[in-house]
Amino acid sequence: MPPPKKILCVAEKNSISKAVAEHLSGGHFQTGNTGNQYIKNYTFTFDFGPPWGNCQVVMTSVSGHLTAVKFDDEYERSWDNPPPEALFDAPVQVKVEDDKLPISNNIKNNARGAHALFIWTDCDREGEHIGGEVRTEALKGNPTLEIRRARFSNIERAHIIHAAKHPVNLDERQVLSVAVRIELDLRIGYAFTRHLTNSLRPLGGPLSVRPDGGRRVISFGLCQFPTLGFVVDRYFRVKNFVPEPFWSIKVTHRRDDINVVFNWKRVRLFDRAVVVILFERCIAAKTAKVIKVQEKPTSKWKPLPLTTVELQKNASRFLRMNSHEAMAAAEVLYQKGFISYPRTETDRFDPGMNLRALVEKQTQDNRWGTFAQNLVNGAFKQPRQGRHDDKAHPPIHPVAYCAPANLRDKEKRVYEFITRRFLACCSDDAKGQATDVDIQYADEVFSAHGVVVLARNYLDVYPYENWTNSVTLPKFTLDEVFEPTEAMLTEGKTSASSYLTEPDLIALMDANGIGTDATMAEHINTIKQREYVYTRPKGGGGRGNHAPAPARGAREGRGARAGRGGQGRGGGATGAGGGGGVEEFIPSTLGVALVDGYDKMGHEISLSKPFLRKEMELKMKDICEGRLAGDVMLRESLKQYKRVFDLSKEQLNVLKASCRRYVLNNGA
């Protein structure tokens, strides 16, 4: 019998490597050290099936990207010379970073004598590119290696074994698209950062020295600037806002001891005289006539399967953590094999997936076990199908049961949310009975709405949403004429939208095509670190917006959009706390100056606006789908940004003026 073949497996991080080794070896493996203290080599045997059969396996990992794109040394020494614009076409090289050399050597060494390399990096664009880096290093050690890629979206045992036995090829297009993006980020980021820093430091003050005494670097990033742009735009919207009064008519009728409120179909109008005339006509008409009575079943739909963006938005809303923390916790849960891959755009489950089996795993829990059992016993419903499918990963869902005692606090909350969301998806919509009554009063139409909740269904396991009985309406008959108990002319005032919260910001980035689900949280974090924005607990001055506010100073920006903000503490109390843990973003003076400056330069394409970056994102997709060549994208994008660079150099004075105005407080 020939000796078993040797196969080298490389994952993206050691934790994944270890988890995969455990599953493939059934827990029987040897651990060896490498030149990197966090990375181990796990040795075991595994039967890959044909054509490989039983093999000797070395499972190891990298630690994120193995290489970096670098300019030649002459460009690294000084920020002035060669000048920043030279970086648009200066030569670059892909190099293994010094601290990654031991990892690279480990791969090369283990490639020698191996028959094949199995790449186990995460299955997304970034992971594909890292897979490409691993391949390059491994081939240096053994040019005849066969290269395969394991495709997996969670670390659950059966799934991993299946992935090991059904490898695919590395997706060259994805590798290429990331390589192009990395080079663009480097060239454009460096050129603008150096240019900005060189030009603005001489203005002195905070533009030259950071509060902690370090030298200021004014860093530019393709995603960070548009992200900052959203924060600044909203800030000015809130600041400049002028409240305006509006008027409405409210009709109440008391019947069977129930006060029925009829709301005006026109909702509200911004002209007092007009509303007074309409109100007078109602009063003069004396009676109202019922023109519609409708009773119909209604339902509150269960949520869609969970995507990364939704997880991030909900985390700040319900789990008291920001998107960055939520993703970190999800990452741990994924690495431990409890949940599927947490970076996904997909909001529909593949019909072939055995969801009932996944539900069944949750029956042992003492919080939602009974609910899960009930689904298993027949209440199971196929989840709704969203419209997004990234063709790589399923929606985020639990793949194994995990008792709360085994998790840290944040992980526990994220696991609970993901599991409850999943069970909600596999359950039925909440059902109710709705009643609508419309009346005509003079020429105006008013309507009352009532709901009785009949079956809560998914809401029983999903406390993040609620649906309560509104008033039960008394009996009204079509064509019935009655004299309403009361009609009132009411007055209100518009209030500013609030500063951006993290869920808002993620939603805006998503809607405008900035960043990917995987990177949004990082971009947000970066603009905080760079001191372009800071956050504070939301709800600074949220007054309930329903109160017919006694007119005060017109320009205090009130921080509450209808329904959010002030809710928590029962209306009335001014500025009490705010909604638990949600933070709002305020730009720093530097952040405002940068956006203001670039906007005022009047580039038809301002850097603080999302289009340029969005275009890049679309082109990357084009590369991945084979519609665009990588070098074409590189050339086009560099040309675009070089033009913007030249323009902003010409108009540097505009940017300086903004910095003087906002940062140095001249003529504020």
Binding site: E244, R266, D271, P303, A434, T494
Partner: protein, 257 residues
């Protein structure tokens, strides 16, 4: 060959549309030119109609001095209700969507001015609110306060109307009237026929489809000026009203203290 059209025929063809008879000084040159080119009545009628709808009807040469106009009491806010006793032709000088705040309009105009609504350059600045609990598409379970403002078309619209004598009276849509809206849909200077029996309440005409006919047209200069100065006008208006409220509001606060 048919008889060439006469002034009477032309006038008649216009009045059947509901238009008041134009003055012969307005119609004669149009008829003459038409006759020289042997244009049939239909063609001359079309020309006359377009000219009339684009004319400023307050100019003395356009309509007959006997043309019906608003009675002097029309814009008296003390009269709760009165009715127009004849058909009156008016032109629109201003239009305003009463369901939108001025600030909302200013923000929309500003984003248009900055090119944020141009195709391929759109920026989404506001995500529709998901409040009232994280929404699912729960029929109308949302409070009717937020759900009610359906149909982005907006309205009711309030119009500043002017008759041929130059008198200005406001009117607003008691019920939706087709073709009333912002330029370019309805131009400034657009002609509207208010039918006999139209109700005027406290100085404002209540516009209803049965008694309001939007004839169309616009006065080029007015329309252009209105559109170009719109954002500036709205800003000044908001500032002014806000200052006024501030003044009144301060008094209230003083009283409370």
């Amino acid at each position: 060959m048919a008889q060439p059209p006469t002034l009477a025929q032309l006038t008649h063809s216009l009045t059947t549309l509901g238009l008041p008879p134009p003055s012969p000084t307005f119609l004669s040159p149009i008829l003459l030119t038409g006759l020289q080119k042997s244009t049939p009545l239909q063609g001359i009628h079309a020309t006359a109609k377009i000219r009339l709808l684009s004319a400023d009807i307050t100019l003395p040469s356009i309509l007959l001095p006997s043309t019906p106009s608003f009675p002097s009491t029309t814009n008296d806010p003390k009269i709760p209700s009165q009715k127009l006793s004849s058909d009156i032709l008016v032109q629109v000088l201003d239009v305003e969507d009463l369901s939108k705040s001025k600030w909302e309009l200013i923000e929309a105009l500003e984003s248009e001015r900055k090119g944020e609504t141009t195709k391929g350059r759109e920026i989404i600045r506001v995500i529709p609110p998901e409040d009232v609990g994280p929404s699912s598409a729960s029929t109308q379970a949302l409070g009717s306060q937020t759900a009610g403002r359906e149909g982005g078309g907006g309205g009711p619209f309030k119009l500043l109307l002017q008759d041929c004598k130059g008198m200005r009276v406001y009117g607003f849509e008691l019920k939706r009237v087709e073709k009333i809206g912002y330029p370019p849909g309805m131009g400034i200077g657009c002609k509207v026929l208010l039918r006999r029996g139209s109700v005027v309440a406290r100085g404002m005409v209540l516009l209803e489809p049965e008694r309001t006919t939007v004839l169309g047209g616009r006065i080029e200069g007015l329309d252009k000026a209105w559109r170009e100065g719109r954002e500036q006008r709205l800003r000044e208006q908001v500032e002014r009203e806000s200052r006024e409220r501030e003044r009144n509001g301060d008094e209230d606060v003083m009283d409370e203290d």
